[in-house]
Amino acid sequence: MDDFSYLKLASRQIDFDNFDDRLLMYVLEYEPSFLTCISCGGCTATCSAGNLTNFNVRKIGLWLRRGETGKLSEEIEKCMFCGKCTLVCPRDINIRNVILLIKKRISMLKTENEKASWKI
């Protein structure tokens, strides 16, 4: 039989119907101010880590809202927790806390061994 493995491509389309919002719900429970993010990018512009790496705080927020736990668990490690993002946010969101919460929940997951079901 022919080997058709060369034909397999992964879809990049964001599929809202298969969207895992558990991490988002956790963050919103403790930091409801995150609801008001308008993706302006003020945080990214001032970000200490972002000036040294390709870390993008605005995208952290987006990925959180799109249930992309896998991407988050890697990216989040680049944050230096300087807190400048929180200072500049026009919606007064405690972004530093949002990132801390993401980190905390993900490390809890790792110990809880839930990883498999979370697609990290």
Binding site: F4, L7, A10, S11, R12, Q13
Partner: protein, 232 residues
């Protein structure tokens, strides 16, 4: 004097047709078949070209990005500003080939393969596609029926009333030498042959750079072809 890349893009009449003014809405990316399966975003292509930024355009010309578009032109139908990102891509690809930048990306380098197959078919058969060159081993997805057609082509085409390699009209008829020579002359006067030669020229340079050389140190294009076929 170095002509700016953006100025060169604008020389092609298709750029004005493809890019009037983009307002960054993403309606094109939403339904783009390539955006779903590749790291590709036609909206950002339009925005980059619109910016006229030389560095960014130069980077695009060397990138895989411009080779992801499948030219379905679905973007044209939807754009609220009557732009056509697919047409912008055609212009970028043209410049990428003319400047040799295409050999800097994996997807771009494939132009050599296409020129050697479809490009050669056009001048050899007068058709883009011909059953003698559609070998089942290179087209396993074509399935057992095509394999049967290929292996019994004269009988099969004959049985359905086609005129494979025959004189006169009909499906898959042989194109007369006089017509083929007109095609070749058209390719000569309209820069078609020049483009084939350009692709060949830059591909050879790339092959040498990659160490794919023959005993005399010249480009070994057979090795290069094999390399491209494997490259993923």
């Amino acid at each position: 004097m170095v002509v700016k890349l953006y100025a060169q893009l604008k020389e092609d009449v298709r750029l004005a047709e493809g890019l009037q003014a983009c307002m960054n809405c993403g309606i094109c990316t939403a339904i783009c078949p390539a955006a779903e399966y590749y790291e590709y975003d036609p909206r950002s292509i339009a925005i980059t070209v619109q910016s006229g930024n030389e560095e960014k355009i130069a980077a695009l010309l060397k990138s895989d990005t411009i080779w992801y578009c499948g030219q379905c032109m679905s973007c044209k139908t939807r754009c609220p500003r009557n732009n056509c990102p697919g047409l912008i891509i055609s212009v970028l690809r043209k410049l990428s080939q003319e400047t040799g930048a295409f050999t800097e990306s994996r997807m771009g380098r494939q132009q050599y393969l296409i020129m050697k197959t479809i490009g050669a078919n056009i001048l050899r058969f007068g058709y883009c596609v011909h059953p003698t060159v559609l070998k089942p081993e290179n087209h396993p997805e074509q399935g057992p029926v095509w394999k049967w057609v290929f292996e019994n082509k004269h009988d099969v085409y004959d049985s359905v009333g086609a005129n494979l390699d025959g004189d006169g009209p009909g499906a898959m008829r042989k194109i007369a030498e006089t017509d083929l020579s007109e095609l070749l002359k058209i390719f000569k006067v309209s820069n078609g042959i020049k483009l084939y030669e350009t692709i060949e020229h830059f591909s050879q340079i790339k092959a040498v750079k990659m160490g794919l050389v023959d005993q005399n140190g010249g480009a070994d294009m057979e090795k290069y072809t094999q390399y491209l076929l494997q490259e993923v």
